[in-house]
């Protein structure tokens, strides 16, 4: 019964979403407060209903209820409990339900934390959220219903793809979806503003925390996905320019641009039209990503839905929302008043440059992702656009942006003094140059690129710190004053500095791995030793091992420094999941400082040796540490009081602190 109740709750959520879409928007049109207020309880109840539905599906997974088709297809009674739970969204139907759950979750958040918004704006935002929910719930019910039943129920399920049986899967999609779907709020704000025909600095302030939250989650989701691919796929790549990865990178780039342009709009009331367009485009890219991943039009690791009916349905949603919103935009944009003016050399100017580069880079990634599909549709030729394309286009476009990042926060609004800012950054520049030279001389004299790249990363980190130093007045005031000023800086200043520093760390990681990585491939037998990057790796033993639902050949390596200092063992294995007869490689990874040693097993050679592939990945962990720092920066910014300006208090009540925490 719980299954059917979950199913019913989802259907009911659809009906309620219809109401949430229509009533508040009609209310806003005819200026009726009561109708506008329907949005909030509807959004909250909708969240409750979809959550109930999701819980019903999860409990079916936990209890191995194979009378549910979806559970039978994707679960197995012998699976560990954790993977039964994560299996709920490890498949097409369940992941779409999670998508909708997160969508209505954001709707409920707007209802709860949106009290500081004018009633009509809140009503329109919730109405647009309701429209998106409608489209996706009906998509689930019509083409991918996770509650389809099986009668009689089989006694055993068909297991979950073992590659997906991993803790990475548990965290990666929810985070990614929190990001993807979070941008729906920015989209709803944009549409609501266009419907109302009002777009001003206050709007930008209201939309920023939502954009920031979505951006943070997406950053985390992308980083998790990257790390998961790194250690699970067994070849140690952290980014493959796989279309599915691109699908998550695109809204990230768009969202980053949106964050910056909304800043200009809030401060200076400028870039209004552009910001609204970016909000629409960013969520459109999220929808596009959902389409690419869910329709199965791509050849990629994630292709687990191959039903064309679904693709056509999502394409319909895509066309409806993107087309509809752009049409509304074209109709309304002309009526928006222009904003404040500024000089090219100014904070605004820097942010515009940021937007120009980011959107251009977004466009190249988009072209590279869609071009093969386009070519195939038109000519029937099958081509692949891989890493070389993106390295050649995305790289040169984004690197100059990284060079100018430290200037941005130091420039004044309206009219900046480039020379003064450069002087302040002189220290950071000198230090970065010194480190680049040091890297060139000490680490690798062959690679100028590596040295420059590391220098660039250091420049970003130190440049971000310089902003904090300058703003707290180091060198101009007494130490005690500096300290109190430092403490008094707005949180958003720290957030900016951390996020920019995080970009720097990730840059260092990426550049050093791609340019300085070393690799050894050797056919080894127990007892043999391979030397790599000052370490000795001795192949100790190869023995069979049986896990809960797999068997494996486990190779143990003993690691030591060349000088003889022992560093323990590294275990790598080749696994065979028995239910599906599916082999996987479990890499042995050893973190040494910021770097990692990555050991992966291959096949046996005819003379009984085993092929072992060993990588030395210098400073590879910085790639994900950087993302973590960016997320921390986002969190700190979210805590800034400016983003929490409360609703106006009714005048009758005593004046209490009216901020919504």
């Amino acid at each position: 019964m719980s299954i059917e109740l979950g199913h019913f709750a989802l259907v009911l959520a659809f009906a309620l979403a219809l109401v949430q879409m229509a009533v508040p928007i009609i209310g806003a049109q005819i200026k009726n407060d009561t109708l506008m207020r329907v949005g909030e309880p509807a959004a909250l109840t909708n969240f409750m209903l979809v959550a109930l539905s999701f819980m019903a599906l999860t409990s079916a997974y936990i209890q191995s209820d194979f009378s549910v088709l979806n559970v039978w297809e994707n679960s197995h009674s012998a699976k560990p409990l954790l993977y039964k739970i994560t299996g709920t969204w490890g498949n097409h139907e369940g992941s779409m339900l999670l998508w909708v759950l997160i969508l209505v979750f954001f709707g409920a958040l707007v209802a709860v934390f949106g009290r500081n918004l004018p009633l009509s704006l809140r009503a329109n935002v919730l109405g647009v959220q309701g429209a998106i929910s409608c489209a996706f719930i009906i998509f689930i019910l019509a083409t991918s219903n996770p509650f389809a039943r099986l009668d009689p129920a089989p006694m055993e399920g068909r297991d979950l793809n073992p590659i997906l049986q991993d803790i990475g899967l548990a965290v990666h999609p929810p985070l990614l979806y929190l990001g993807y779907v979070g941008f729906s709020v920015a989209f709803s704000f944009a549409i609501a503003a266009l419907i109302e025909g009002r777009l001003d600095a206050a709007w930008a302030r209201w939309v920023r925390p939502w954009t920031l939250a979505a951006w943070m989650f997406l950053t985390g989701g992308i980083a998790m996905g990257s790390y998961w691919a790194y250690y699970e796929l067994g070849w140690g790549g952290f980014w493959f320019w796989d279309p599915v990865e691109n699908a998550s990178l695109l809204p990230w780039l768009g969202g980053t641009a949106l964050l910056h342009s909304a800043l200009v709009m809030e401060k200076r009331s400028a870039l209004k039209i552009w910001t609204v367009l970016l909000a629409i485009l960013t969520f459109s890219l999220s929808l596009l990503g959902t389409f690419l991943v869910r329709s199965g039009v791509l050849t990629s690791v994630h292709a687990f839905a191959t039903d064309p009916a679904r693709g056509v349905f999502i394409l319909g949603i895509l066309v409806l929302f993107i087309g509809g919103s752009l049409a509304l935009f074209a109709w309304r944009a002309a009526t928006l008043a222009p904003g404040g003016l500024f000089q090219p050399i100014s904070r605004e100017g820097a942010l515009v440059l940021n937007n120009l580069v980011l959107t251009t880079a977004t466009a190249t990634v988009l072209i590279g992702t869609l071009y093969p599909l386009l070519v195939e549709a038109v000519t029937g030729d099958k081509i692949s656009v891989g890493a070389p394309f993106f390295n050649l286009t995305f790289g040169p476009l984004i690197l100059p942006l990284l060079v100018i990042v430290p200037f941005g926060p130091l420039l004044a609004w309206k009219r900046g003094d480039l020379w003064a800012v450069s002087q302040r950054l002189f220290g950071a520049f000198g230090a970065a140059l010194a480190i680049a030279l040091l890297a060139f001389v000490l680490v690798d004299r062959a690679s100028v690129l590596a040295a420059l790249g590391i220098g660039l990363g250091v420049w970003l980190v130190l440049g971000a710190m310089t902003d904090l130093v300058v703003k707290s007045g180091v060198g101009k005031a007494a130490p005690s004053v500096v300290f109190s000023r430092f403490k008094g800086l707005p949180r958003s200043v720290f957030g900016t500095a951390l996020a920019h520093a995080g970009i720097g760390l990730t840059t260092i990681g990426i550049i050093s791995v791609t340019t300085l990585e070393t690799e050894r491939i050797a056919a080894m037998q127990p007892g043999e030793t391979v030397q790599i990057q000052g370490y000795n790796l001795r192949f100790d033993s190869l023995r069979p091992f049986t896990g809960p639902n797999y068997t494996e050949d486990q190779a143990t390596f003993v690691l030591s420094r060349v000088t003889g200092k022992p560093l323990g063992e590294v275990v790598s294995s080749k696994r065979l999941y028995t239910a599906r007869q599916m082999p996987t490689t479990e890499a042995g990874i050893r973190t040494l400082g910021l770097s990692q040693l990555y050991v992966s097993l291959g096949d046996q050679t005819p003379n009984g040796k085993i092929v072992v592939r060993i990588w030395w990945k210098p400073m590879v962990t910085l790639i994900w540490l950087g993302a973590l720092v960016m997320m921390v920066g986002g969190t700190v910014s979210l805590l800034d009081r400016r983003l929490r300006v409360g609703a106006p208090m009714p005048r009758r009540k005593p004046a209490v602190e009216g901020r919504v925490a």
Binding site: I163, L356, Y371, P372, D381, I383, V385, G386, T393, T605
Partner: protein, 144 residues
């Protein structure tokens, strides 16, 4: 400069940047994309040595020859034509005889395909899309 001139200069700069990006993209699309071929396509239209392509098909039964080091040779077939492939490195977990495979690389002067990447289908229900389509056209493979 007057304000108008300044604005024009900025717009020109932005257009220049976008133009450069477009040029770069077009160039990269021309140079860095690799076309997908089956052995049969290559029999009809041979590809020059050194041009980067993707080659897909089935791994021919009994064709995998491993040397004592890390080199592997095998033959990719579409049922009628075959191409010999050489590869150095670890083959993917799902690389097996008579299973779909996509390799990426170039032909050397002796018509041997030197692959630097080998991708195998990634689970039991999934065949590289290009391979599946082409094989279905030829009737070699059917979806079960």
């Amino acid at each position: 400069m007057t304000r108008k001139q300044k604005r024009l200069a900025i717009i020109a700069g932005a257009l220049g940047f976008i133009g450069a990006a477009t040029g770069l993209t077009l160039y990269a699309l021309g140079e860095q994309t690799s076309y997908f071929y089956m052995p049969g396509d290559l029999a009809e239209n041979p590809v020059a040595a050194g041009q980067r392509i993707r080659l897909g098909g089935l791994v021919e039964k009994g064709s995998i020859v491993r040397s004592d080091d890390t080199h592997v040779r095998f033959t990719v077939t579409d049922g009628s034509n075959t191409v010999s492939v050489r590869y150095n490195g670890i083959l993917p977990d799902l690389f097996r005889e008579e299973q779909g495979v996509v390799t990426e690389g170039v032909f050397d002067d002796s018509k041997m395909f030197v692959a630097d990447t080998v991708l195998a289908k990634h689970d039991e229900n999934y065949m590289p899309r290009e391979v599946a389509d082409s094989l279905k056209e030829k009737g070699v493979w059917q979806e079960n």
